[in-house]
């Protein structure tokens, strides 16, 4: 048991903090905040920020150096994430690629695929979106009907429709699951494809989210030709490959604790301001504020415990489902409590018609219990796979 970081880790933290303080887009330097990443100009501004990070090797610190990373471990990654969120840096436009596809590529990709795809992903030269859900396959992902048909020896043809593709409105590439064996059902006969969004036959229809911006999109495939080297893993092995990605999505990779601890600290600041105006009102909200902060802290500590297990050779398993339930509900609790403290003020839009930070965060948090497998599905997984309750 050792709760301190090594001198190397502390030095790394200091370096990250200094670089971020000097470079994060900010009001005071006239470089920020960036417009919403779901607007065309915001998307490009976020892409430029990722490129700057990449050039300074901050984009993917835990990746091998050859792909643009620093080859650091999970603890260092957690340290970096703490500094990243602490600095108020922008949301990461490349997150679906970096945090979800990349671990899968590193596990299942060929050397050529890694060389080809990882560096431009890390620099956001190529931003990825996820193509899994379909209109009739949401929580029931195995109900996928989009098809991949073999054409000759060197290619596939894709047909069908994907939906809820986050960043889909502007992304360059899509990773998705298609049914490659029409005679199969459910989890069998699926194949994992990497598809350029500008391929002939791909049509994108942006969908406006609760905040009015096209945060996700429907993507239509009409005889889209894809060469065989854009299959990730073996044909027919798609479900297994996808589950590795899903584990990343629910678990530690996508949702590092720092985003919640930073939000929870801001909540305490907000509460403190209210307390200076109305002591009793603050006291009435004190329980909720403390509870939200404590849950964020619990998630942070649980992540360190999980990283400790991983560092000792353990493997992440169904606990990813517990994580997903916990971070999504913690996020909701933090933001709902903030809105309660703000009162009616919370709903006012800016002059540009954008929600305020807390409302924006609340809207985002509402998606948490839905995406990456609804929390209802996660509770089934916990009950059946962790607790062993009968199906």
């Amino acid at each position: 048991m050792d709760l301190s970081f090594t001198p190397e880790q502390e030095a790394f933290r200091a370096e990250a903090r200094a670089w971020l303080e000097a470079n994060v887009p900010s009001v005071s330097r006239g470089t920020g905040p960036l417009p919403s990443l779901d607007t065309p100009e915001g998307f490009e501004a976020h892409r430029a920020w990722e490129r700057l990070m990449f050039e300074n090797r901050w984009s993917v610190v835990s990746w091998p150096q050859r792909y643009g990373g620093r080859g650091l471990g999970v603890m260092e990654w957690l340290v970096f994430e703490e500094e990243y969120w602490r600095s108020g840096a922008p949301l990461r436009v490349g997150q679906n690629g970096i945090f979800l596809l990349a671990p899968t590529l590193l596990e299942f990709g060929t050397p050529e695929q890694r060389e080809r795809f990882l560096p431009p992903m890390a620099s956001a030269e190529e931003v990825w979106c996820q193509g899994w859900s379909e209109p009739d396959a949401g929580s029931d992902l195995a109900g996928i009907r989009s098809r991949a048909d073999r054409r000759g020896s060197d290619g596939w043809v894709l047909n069908g429709q994907k939906t809820w593709c986050s960043r889909g409105a502007y992304a360059d590439w899509l990773f998705g699951l298609f049914r490659s064996d029409p005679d199969t059902e459910r989890h069998r006969g699926l194949t994992y494809f990497l598809v350029p969004m500008d391929a002939p036959g791909v049509t994108v229809r942006p969908i406006a989210q609760l905040d009015g911006e096209p945060g996700f999109a429907e993507v239509f495939f009409d005889d889209v030709e894809v060469p065989v080297d854009q299959v990730l893993g073996e044909p027919g092995q798609g479900w297994e490959v996808a589950m590795a990605t899903a584990g990343s999505e629910r678990g530690l990779n996508l949702r590092s604790p720092a985003r919640y601890t930073v939000a929870a600290n801001r909540l305490v600041e907000l509460w403190s301001e209210v307390a200076s105006r109305d002591r009793d009102l603050a006291a009435m909200h004190a329980d909720a504020v403390a509870s939200a902060w404590i849950d964020a802290e619990a998630y942070r500590l649980a992540t360190y415990a999980a990283a400790t297990r991983l560092a000792s050779g353990g493997k992440a398993g169904s606990e990813a489902s517990m994580n997903k339930i916990f971070w999504s509900e913690t996020d909701l609790a933090i933001h709902a409590t903030a809105l309660a403290l703000l009162g009616a003020e919370a709903e006012l839009l800016s002059e540009e018609g954008r929600p305020g930070d807390w409302m924006d965060g609340y809207l985002f948090s509402l998606a948490g219990p839905i995406y990456a497998g609804t929390n209802e599905i996660q509770r089934n997984v916990v009950a059946e796979r962790v607790l062993g309750l009968p199906r």
């Binding site: 009162g343 839009l349 998606a367 219990p369 995406y371």
Partner: protein
Amino acid sequence: MRLGPDLDQQELAGAFRSFCDKECSAQHIRDAWDGDRGWSTERWKRLAEIGVLGVRVPEAYGGMGLSDFEMALIAEEAGRMALPEPLVDTAAVGAGLLDDLDRLVGWPPAPGWLERVASGDAVVAVGTLDSSVASPGILVHAAGEADLVLLAAPDAIWALDPADCVTEVRRGLDGTRRFARVDLGSSRALPVVSGEQVRSISVAVTDRGATATAAMLVGLGAGMLDMAVSYAGQRRQFGRQIGSFQAVKHQLADVAVRVEFARPAVWRAAASGASGDATASRDASVAKALASQAALLASRTALQVHGAVGYTSECDLHLWAKRAWSLASAWGDVTFHRRRVLASLVPDPAPPLQGQAQPMDTFRADRGALL
């Protein structure tokens, strides 16, 4: 003892429900979002024609001469269809205050304004102030679109021309709701009435606003429950309608329970207000706390049941959900009203509740509790 609408009252609500079904579709609400004022002046006229704007205006001034109770039944139906017009502001709170100013204070312009309200010729917005000391300006819903702005403080009431007092208009997350900053200082108006007699009138403003808004929230909650039940009956996953999953059933059953148990409390509050019961303020707070809680639970649950579909602005649900969020903190949020209920129950107001019996600053004191 009778608690609930009689046949005539049920008929009145039913007729208004038919009106809303025809004249207030989701597309109408979307049009309202896109408009300059967030609601339709044409539909406002139609609301006057069918008598709804004059429900609680005396017959002598062209109204129906009914009470806050019938108004609450109307407001619930308006909520069910998420009607965008400032019905609560004008027909419930505005008309109620003008009626008090007429009957209790004898303010000469009151009858004229009541006639204009009933005929659909005037929009009235009402705000409340903690004290009559001029503040840097409070935000009042619909004041920017109003013909008359009334402000109620514990010791004074003002009637203002919006042209003299509105300094800016802000939009809310719900596109139908616009908030105008009203600056009492810049208007230099004298109060219509002031002194100790004002207190009960001002308290009634808060009570009426809370009660009518609570009624609308019950309707919004019921409306979102209907949407979610309908979607759960259609949407299939894993080869079954998702509404056949127990997890979905139980969440929706909980919403139904909260909505059903809020409604009688709204009836009680509306009737207490109408008859000036001693418990009117507490009853209003009970109703508003329950209705806000029910509508917030309904919105949270309906969004979850709809999944990603509900997270889009293409789906109609968000039109209802955002209204519910806004109204849940309008006229006092859950915490405000729970505090007010508790203060009414302890004989000597205990320290944590001091100062809570005052009418609130419409905006700053509006604290919301979203789920």
